[in-house]
């Protein structure tokens, strides 16, 4: 549905600053119906990247295809037309203060030349969809942040888009509003069959809503994939960002062996515990880590300290690995944090 091929965006040099390569050869593919995320630290080029999708920024090179149309080949007036089927939601909502909630939702329809009665009807329907049917006549100033973003989402959906772009859509919201806006996004995605591309710097947002994600750093994609696949990797930049490696004091004074376990819905920690506690009769202590629900499955990373008769441990670990469990012993003098090479 969305396909970027080797897209670059270079902002020309200005007075004192040299030229800035905001997006540096990104290729990205989002399938129809997918909820995709782009994560990265601030300044990594995320916001520029999302603006390349609807050509709010024209790429310096590379091609952008949305819903089968190669936007980068279209002249400006055709691009404007194409934008009507690509909704966009912004961090700061960008509602017009001079219009009511309904008036804001009608705005894109007005631009598309839809008649007044039809606009009214559609705005009411969309405000109902986002749960603000009662606030149609409210001004943005009278709405909370979460409500404003709901109106903005209704506005973005007015033109019956097939693609929805979200630029840090929850970054200006508190936790409760964030959760309800994300819930709304997931709901409209499945009800309307949308393809969503969401930009965020918050890993929690990706974990809450995305099916897949890419990690952007300095304008380049450094890692990515379906979350269910990424999280079953022992290590990768994105996996480490989503599930930070647990920290434990592995220093002297502790007996036993530290084990690093990656928990997935196919290889739950119970399998490991059964082997270690049940079969080898070792004492197992959870030294660190967490397990959470991501993309509908249980994923996590645990650091276990085992003590007891360790003679048969190596053989057992090999057996577990053969069964597909990601488990490894942390070398005695290694700091498990430093071993991951990522601090996030």
């Amino acid at each position: 549905m969305i396909e970027l091929t080797d897209v670059r965006k270079v902002f020309p040099a200005r007075r004192r600053a040299g030229e800035v390569v905001a997006v540096d050869g990104v290729s990205l593919r989002v399938a129809a119906g997918e909820f995709a995320g782009v994560v990265g630290p601030s300044g990594s080029g995320k916001s520029t990247l999302v603006r390349l999708v609807n050509l709010l920024e024209r790429p310096t090179s590379g091609s952008v295809t949305v819903d089968g149309r190669v936007l980068t080949d279209l002249p400006d007036d055709r691009v404007r037309e194409a934008r009507r089927s690509i909704g966009m939601v912004f961090q700061h909502f960008e509602l017009l203060d001079s219009r009511t909630a309904a008036g804001n939702v009608e705005h894109p329809l007005e631009l598309a030349g839809v008649g007044r009665a039809e606009r009214r009807r559609r705005a009411a329907e969309l405000l109902d969809l986002v749960g603000l049917g009662e606030r149609a006549e409210a001004r943005p100033a009278q709405l909370s942040g979460g409500q404003k973003q709901r109106v903005a989402i209704a506005r973005a959906l007015a033109g019956r888009p097939r693609v929805l772009l979200c630029d840090e859509a929850t970054s200006a919201l508190d936790q409760a509003s964030t959760a309800s806006v994300l819930e709304l996004l997931r709901r409209v995605r499945s009800e309307l069959g949308l393809t969503v591309l969401l930009i965020t710097h918050e890993m929690a947002v990706v974990k809450a809503v995305c099916d897949s994600a890419v990690l952007l750093e300095r304008g380049r994609v450094v890692d990515g994939g379906r979350l269910s696949e990424v999280l079953t990797r022992g290590h990768s930049p994105l996996a480490d960002a989503l599930l930070p490696a647990p920290v434990a004091d592995a220093g002297a004074g502790h007996d036993g062996v530290l084990l690093r376990v990656t928990v997935t819905d196919r290889t739950p920690e119970t399998v490991v515990l059964q082997t270690l506690v049940g079969r080898l009769e070792l004492a197992v202590e959870v030294a660190g880590g967490s397990v959470e629900t991501v993309a509908g499955g249980r994923y996590g990373r645990l650091l276990l300290r085992v003590t007891g008769d360790l003679d048969r441990l190596d053989g057992a670990l090999r057996g577990l690995r053969d069964d597909g469990v990601l488990i490894e012993a942390v070398p005695r003098d290694a700091n498990p944090v430093a071993a991951t090479g990522v601090d996030r």
């Binding site: 609807n54 709010l56 404007r80 037309e81 194409a82 934008r83 009507r84 690509i86 966009m88 912004f90 700061h92 960008e94 509602l95 017009l96 203060d97 001079s98 219009r99 705005h107 894109p108 007005e110 631009l111 598309a112 001004r139 943005p140 100033a141 506005r155 033109g159 772009l165």
Partner: protein, 219 residues
């Protein structure tokens, strides 16, 4: 107080002349000043329709118009006035320099107002497929409306003060009245009366402008 009977009709007439000059000049100023302000805004580098050369030229013209003392402008545009109205004397003739003096003033205020509309709102409209003229019509002007009204009020008040000067060089109106009856005949009471009258007009205008702007401001 026999002379009041003589002065009173003249005062009414002078007030009417002032309102006529300022009223017509205000309408013309809005008609020319708002589009000029829009042009200044959108042609700026990095704006909606960047035209750096045009922008610099317009900026220069506007600054020239604003830096010129009105009394000088009054004489400088006399040939233009004669060309348009046929004479340089009278209230109608005064409308020409008044308008020319106020247009750059309003244009700058309009530019400032429009520039204050958040760039994100413009971007949001672009993302909906708005054309540049749609952005001006549906985003910039409506969002800046309270501030545009405030700017127009300031401009009309400035026009009243300009009109007093125009009156002194044959335009008629309250300024002319104050000089002829108050100043030249040593009638401080008449000068004061004129001042009070001008104050009332200005106050009424300011009140109406503020009220209107506030009613439209939804922030």
């Amino acid at each position: 107080m026999s002379d009041w009977a003589r002065i009173y009709p003249q005062l009414i007439e002078a007030t009417g002349e002032t309102l006529y000059m300022v009223g017509v000049a205000a309408v013309l100023t809005v008609v020319f000043g708002v589009p000029l302000g829009i042009l200044l805004t959108v042609s700026a580098p990095g704006a909606l329709a960047p035209r750096p050369l045009l922008n610099r030229f317009l900026g220069l013209v506007v600054n020239l118009g604003r830096s010129l003392p009105f009394i000088i402008l009054l004489f400088l545009v006399a040939p233009v006035t004669r060309g348009i109205v046929g004479t340089t004397i009278g209230s109608t003739a005064a409308i020409v320099p008044l308008t020319i003096g106020a247009v750059p003033f309003l244009a700058r205020l309009v530019e400032t107002s429009l520039r204050e509309v958040a760039a994100g709102k413009v971007e949001a409209a672009m993302s909906m497929g708005a054309r540049r003229r749609d952005v001006v019509r549906t985003v910039l002007l409506p969002e800046a409306r309270p501030s545009l009204i405030a700017g127009t009020t300031v401009t009309v008040v400035a026009l009243i003060s300009y009109s007093a000067m125009a009156g002194a060089v044959g335009g008629g109106g309250l300024g002319d009245f104050a000089i002829r009856f108050g100043y030249q005949q040593f009638r401080t009471d008449i000068t004061l009366l004129t001042v009070v009258l001008l104050l009332v007009i200005v106050q009424a205008l300011q009140w109406a402008g503020d009220h209107w702007a506030r009613r439209l401001a939804h922030v």
